[in-house]
């Protein structure tokens, strides 16, 4: 008997309820939206730790919505990868809300911001916990539509232009996903992921899996901004308010893109060597194109957006390698990237808050006036560049070691070269932005408010101490059990259905 758990639907229900409560009650006061968002995201962290603990004690959990039995009703599934992703999303969401309390003071309509924010979190959590193909699409759209609106939140020229581009590309991506789901449903007559995996295995036909695989990969790659599909990201992520840039780059592209690819291919369709090769090639192309384009950016947030494309490439490479070490390294890098890219985007938001500019050529010497922001940006930069002992170093090292072990020497070499180029662009952020002489016009710049400093400081601390997660004990609890989901692969299906 598969253990069921009432915690699983809370990951969707709590942020949804929070969003509607804010929309109903939060228009007049300031306390309700801020407090509600903090409580909801803080609660989600607690739930996700409970979920991890439950998984490590009792294995895979399911929850049947409305108590309908599994292949007919909608199921939510909690396994290692799910628990890991839920923790990442909740942690980043909480720290970003902490930052936005002060940052969003400048905007009007804060209750709308928090409503959309929590809707986006609900959508992402839904994508992560669902065990049903069509629900995957629905939650994907919930998160995506909320994020289109959040990109346009400033309603200035650039925000609107970027949001339109993002909305068109995102909707086309969702269309491909829907088309693939139609194919899969008409072939297998089921929407339950586990049941679908069994039906596909029984049929043994690879042609339907191939067609739908291509459609799904296109759709999710559009969401994850892997290179041939990346055109919207460098517009959308910098145009959004800084906390939203941090959410989009930090967790949205991973929950809707990388996680969905992993779930659909590893747990449902099954992975062929060609697909692994394709993932690796896409990863390597993303990582090198992203880093080369980042090198010539002067807009701080745009530079960081290209850097996200490049780092997603590392994650895809790690997943494509397909060894247990590769999976673990990819997941560790996914977590690290969430932390340091949110940190860098929030840091760029802090700079914009204090000075009003994002152009690196206009900054200079800000480190003298904004000590904590500068230190936090430094630790984030060192982590993204892969300097020991920061967390980013360990995950990149593991990805490269996994590539060498599996015999993909060229990919390992490209990853090393891309990592060096990464160092050169992050040094540019530090040199033009924070080091050197303080410019005359920034003499009056003051450090950002306490809440923003707190959020930056906590993220920087995770960047510095993140490497400790690799110690035995922590690694088992945090990473290995999540990485094992990949090795279990489509066998997961028989376990889920077998227990029902």
């Amino acid at each position: 008997m598969m253990p069921t758990s009432p915690v699983i639907p809370l990951f969707v229900a709590v942020p949804l309820a929070g969003a509607f409560a804010i929309a109903l009650l939060g228009k007049k006061t300031r306390i309700i939206p801020n407090g509600m968002a903090l409580i909801v995201t803080g609660g989600l962290i607690a739930f996700s730790i409970i979920a991890m603990r439950m998984f490590s004690l009792f294995g895979v959990h399911t929850y049947k919505l409305g108590a309908w039995p599994a292949p007919f009703g909608i199921v939510m599934v909690l396994d290692g990868l799910t628990a890991f992703m839920l923790f990442t999303v909740s942690l980043i969401a909480f720290l970003v809300i902490l930052f936005s309390i002060s940052y969003m003071e400048r905007y009007s309509g804060r209750w709308q911001f928090y409503t959309l924010f929590l809707l986006m979190v609900a959508g992402m959590n839904g994508v992560i916990v669902t065990g049903d193909m069509f629900n995957l699409f629905v939650f994907l759209e919930v998160a995506a539509v909320a994020s289109y609106a959040l990109v346009a939140f400033g309603t200035e020229k650039h925000e609107l232009e970027a949001a339109f581009k993002y909305a068109v590309m995102g909707s086309v991506g969702s269309l491909f996903v829907l088309l693939a789901i139609v194919w899969l449903y008409s072939y297998t007559s089921t929407l339950n992921m586990a049941d679908m995996a069994l039906a596909l295995q029984a049929a043994g036909s690879t042609r339907v899996a191939l067609v739908t695989g291509v459609l799904l990969l296109t759709g999710f790659a559009l969401k994850a901004a892997i290179v041939p599909f990346h055109a919207w990201l460098p517009d959308a992520h910098p145009s959004a308010p800084a906390p939203i840039s941090a959410m989009l780059s930090g967790v949205l592209i991973k929950a809707l893109g990388v996680y969905a690819i992993c779930r659909v291919f590893y747990s449902v369709l099954g992975v062929s060597p060609q697909l692994s090769m394709l993932l690796m090639v896409l990863g390597v192309v993303s990582m090198s194109v992203g880093v080369l384009l980042a090198l010539r950016q002067w807009d701080l947030k745009r530079l960081l957006a290209y850097s996200s494309i490049s780092q997603i490439g590392y994650i895809m490479l790690g997943i494509g390698i397909g060894t247990p070490l590769g999976f673990m390294a990819a997941l560790f890098h996914l977590f690290n990237h969430s932390v340091f890219k949110s940190l860098l985007f929030l840091g760029s938001g802090a700079v914009e808050y204090a000075t009003g500019t994002r152009d690196l050529r206009e900054m200079g010497g800000l480190g003298k006036r904004m000590k904590l922001t500068s230190a936090a940006m430094l630790s984030g930069s060192m982590s993204v560049a892969g300097i020991p002992p920061f967390a980013g170093f360990w995950s990149k090292l593991l990805i490269i070691v996994a590539a060498v072990q599996a015999g993909y020497y060229w990919f390992a070499i490209i990853a090393v070269v891309a990592s060096m180029l990464t160092l050169s662009y992050v040094m540019r952020i530090m040199r033009y932005g924070f080091l050197g002489e303080l410019r005359e016009k920034w003499a009056g710049v003051r450090e950002v408010p306490f809440m923003m400093k707190l959020s930056l400081g906590l993220l920087a601390l995770i960047c510095i101490l993140g490497g400790l997660l690799l110690l035995p004990g922590a690694r088992e609890f945090f990473l290995t059990q999540a990485a094992r989901t990949f090795s279990v692969g489509t066998q997961l299906a028989s376990r889920i259905l077998g227990g029902v």
Binding site: V138, Y148, L160, F164, V168, Y185, S186
Partner: protein, 113 residues
């Protein structure tokens, strides 16, 4: 078979409009066309000749050529999601027109690099 091909043609028309048109409104229309091509395809997949509603009746009446109700429910959901997206994008296009004074994407290009 011909209906499936027409459905594919409709989808391609939509995608073509999204890729090649310069007017924001035409891009949105293209998206709607492509979206409904997918919905139509889903309905076609579920079609049964002489099918009947899947309501159970005592044995002498057979519900054998039963229509699977699930695709209809799903398409309904997809249509609702599509309407939300469309409404959002039309609102966005109106705000863009207020700021830029044009619907032409060739002239709404301040973001690049």
């Amino acid at each position: 078979m011909a209906v499936y091909v027409l459905c594919l043609v409709l989808f391609c028309v939509g995608i073509y409009a999204i890729l090649s048109k310069r007017n924001l409104i035409k891009i949105i229309i293209g998206l709607i066309v492509a979206e409904h091509a997918v919905n139509l395809f889903f309905i076609l997949v579920a079609y049964r000749i002489g099918g009947r509603a899947p309501i159970f009746e005592p044995p002498p009446v057979s519900i054998e050529p039963m229509v699977d109700p699930l695709p209809h429910a799903l398409v309904l959901t997809a249509i609702v999601i599509g309407i939300a997206t469309t409404a959002f994008m039309v609102a966005l296009a109106m705000r863009i027109y207020e700021k830029y004074g044009t619907y032409d994407i060739a002239r709404i290009r301040e973001l690049r690099g």
